[in-house]
């Protein structure tokens, strides 16, 4: 990607490359097909609509009381011995974590999966300050070995097939080239075990933070999350401020919706609930637990009733699994931390519309994402809202998102003004239509991006009005 490209050009370049990469398309196609059918099976015996309504209600209830719940969470965490930090920006969150690491002379950090830390580009930041951060989730480990970023929020290495992973591990870690997944997994296990033992600090994300009890919940299958939060002497959990839920009971339905929507599992292997560091008499667990609450744009989304629904997200990834666009271009084409439908409605808030103006448009608005979302986020409606924001909204809906109006074009505005002016003047309108149909052969054959993959629509010789009129007066409609 050359440095002179605008974000828009770079986006189109990535999409073009991805669509023409048969390997990427095949890898995503087969993975997404599998995930869709597993999800269907997992909900087969349930009244899914009712569950989704419950999921949405629980998350919305938490958001309704967000500031109070954050304070309650902080109070209860502190009472449990967890130290709570607040960060307005990614940068601030990185510095908080760096300071904790430095206070412990940490050289090596082991990480469980955390999308917020991806958002913060934490690994890169720590590296620059002389601290090695190693990913321990197998998918993240592979992606880190490759020097890439995750292409899916649940399955970070889904864009690679076994052969590619084998080659990568062979090259970077000296394993034998092999298509035996058990062998590759065992090799990664033994490489990472040593690192778990040596790590000075463990960093994880959080799936749900329970205000009522001051509990941090982590959902995982591998056990790396448990190791990360148990073996090193210090555990730092980092999360967006929206992840708080009110009561411990709220976690039961959300957990079920999350795992079934994500991978079609009734539950994951581990559900890890952390409510404090090692207490007197306990023989393991970290001596210190820190919670870093990251805002980074979220309190901005919070101001608007419609946009706020974005914050209900529980990061299950179902919207990407079911997205016809994501399935074809894969996660990297989006160029953002969160790809797919959730990325399209979240990233404009986190980065501003200047950098993400194409995202809300890169959708067919087919509605699949909204239909599967376990917390009923109306993604298609939010996409339309963001499209409007990108061209500045109107009197009723002034732009709210940073960078609103970035796609506004003078000539486009002028054309639409002319259009509405014409429509308010019947005589002129009729004359205009008559002229347009008569001179329709003058119509351009190419209409920018529209005709890149489609033929241009042709104006009919007679307008609908004219046809209906002719019909009403009993004449031949032709």
């Amino acid at each position: 990607m050359s440095a002179t490209q605008t974000p828009v050009q770079a986006f189109h370049r990535r999409v073009h490359d991805a669509i023409h990469d048969a390997r990427i398309r095949a890898n995503f196609r087969s993975a997404m097909d599998g995930l869709m059918s597993k999800r269907r099976t997992a909900f087969a015996d349930w009244d899914l609509e009712r569950l989704r309504e419950l999921g949405a209600a629980i998350r919305q209830r938490a958001l309704t009381r967000l500031p109070d719940l954050l304070e309650e969470l902080e109070r209860n965490c502190q009472a449990n011995g967890i130290r709570v930090h607040w960060a307005e920006t990614d940068e601030e969150a990185c510095h908080i974590i760096l300071d904790i690491c430095r206070a412990h002379d940490a050289r090596q950090v082991i990480k469980g999966k955390s999308m917020v830390s991806e958002e913060m580009e934490l690994n890169h930041f720590l590296q620059q300050h002389g601290i090695q951060a190693l990913e321990s989730d197998l998918g993240e480990y592979i992606v880190q070995l490759a020097g890439e970023t995750p292409s899916h929020i649940i399955m970070p290495a889904i864009h690679k097939n076994t052969g590619e992973i084998s080659e990568l591990m062979h090259e970077k870690t000296g394993t034998e080239p092999s298509r035996d997944v058990d062998y590759l997994t065992a090799a990664a296990r033994s490489q990472l075990r040593e690192r778990f033992m040596q790590a000075d600090v463990g960093i994880s994300g959080v799936n749900f933070a329970v205000a009522e009890t001051g509990t941090l919940c982590l959902v995982e299958n591998e056990g790396n999350g448990r190791l990360t939060t148990t073996v090193p002497p210090v555990h730092i959990a980092v999360t967006g401020i929206e992840k708080v839920v009110e009561r411990l009971e709220d976690v039961a339905p959300l957990l079920s919706l999350l795992t079934r929507s994500a991978t079609g599992q009734h539950i994951t292997t581990y559900f890890n609930m952390i409510s404090g560091p090692r207490r007197d008499g306990e023989l393991d667990g970290p001596q210190e637990v820190h919670l870093v609450l990251v805002d980074s744009g979220r309190s901005g989304i919070y101001q608007d009733d419609e946009l706020l629904e974005t914050l209900r997200c529980i990061r299950c990834g179902a919207c990407m699994n079911h997205c016809p666009v994501y399935t074809r271009v894969g996660g990297h084409a989006y160029g953002t931390t969160y790809p797919g439908p959730i990325g399209k409605i979240l990233m404009p808030h986190l980065l501003g519309l200047e950098a993400t103006s194409e995202l809300p448009s890169a959708s067919t608005l087919c509605g699949a994402c909204g239909d599967v979302c376990p917390v009923k986020i109306p993604i298609p409606r939010l996409l339309v809202r963001l499209r409007r924001e990108a061209v500045e909204g109107d009197g009723q809906h002034p732009g709210m998102v940073a960078g609103h109006g970035v796609k506004r074009r003078r000539w486009e505005v002028a054309i639409w003004r002319l259009w509405s002016w014409l429509h308010a003047r019947p005589g002129l309108y009729r004359a205009g239509i008559a002229a347009a149909t008569r001179f329709r052969w003058l119509q351009p054959r190419r209409l920018g991006a529209w005709t890149r993959y489609r033929t241009a629509p042709r104006l009919a010789p007679r307008s609908l009005h004219a046809l209906m009129k002719a019909r009403a007066s009993g004449g031949n409609p032709r």
Binding site: I165, R189, L248, A252, P253, I267, N272
Partner: protein
């Protein structure tokens, strides 16, 4: 730090009106099922087996024999087991002299990390309860049963009393009054460690135990 806290909270509270309230949460679908104990045990068993775990239904006085058989079948020569819990005492009392060596988790992890990671072949823990619907064990590690005993050894064996099997997570939380006070670490364990990160192919024992064996006492 405090500046950020105040600014974030002020922004959240700065909304003109509070966000629209949701309808009441109808938790009924998750509350509980009317399953007999037999149904619970069988559902639990089939859920665990569907994720590559093993379940053995044993009599209260038969679990140690069953445990010994499972260990011998695998050629396991040592077992990390609790010492000062009811389960640990019962086990140690009845353990045959020629059985696998019983290890104790009696030092802080810092003092024996390499040994725990490299030498222990299996870990035994009690379960505080179970969840039939999802095939989950409830563990509350503590001084007698540290967190890593169920995670680091390649085989994890858990002992569960059948009358502690709840139908759903929500029912278990309510019956055991979790919200009144959570331990430093509470766990649901629903199978051996696994991953599908390499091309959606399942592989077991990626970071945690490769095998999970549950002895259900009834």
């Amino acid at each position: 730090m405090s500046g950020s806290r105040e600014r974030i909270l002020a922004r959240l509270r700065g909304r003109r009106t509070p966000p629209p309230p949701p309808p009441a949460s109808d938790m009924r679908p998750f509350a509980a099922h009317e399953w007999t104990q037999e149904e619970r045990v069988e559902r639990f068993r089939s859920a665990i087996e569907s994720v590559h775990g093993e379940v053995h239904r044993v009599a209260h006085d038969g679990w140690i024999t069953c445990l010994l058989e499972r260990l011998q079948a695998r050629g396991i020569t040592n077992l990390l087991a609790p010492a000062d819990t009811a389960l640990g005492r019962e086990l140690r009392h009845a353990w045959p002299a020629d059985g696998p060596e019983l290890l104790r988790y009696d030092r802080p992890i810092e003092d024996w990390k390499p040994e725990l990671f490299h030498q222990v072949q299996a870990g035994l823990t009690a379960a505080r309860g179970g969840i039939a619907e999802t095939g989950s064990l409830i563990l509350w590690p503590g001084p007698g049963e540290p967190r890593l005993a169920s995670l680091v050894p390649p085989v994890h064996i858990a002992v569960l009393d059948a009358d502690q099997l709840h139908t759903t997570l929500l029912e278990a939380m309510r019956a055991q009054h979790w919200a009144r006070g959570m331990p430093t670490n509470a766990l649901l364990i629903s199978g051996p460690s696994k991953t599908a990160d390499i091309e959606q192919t399942l592989a077991y024992g990626v970071h945690g135990p490769r095998e999970l064996i549950v002895l259900v006492r009834e």
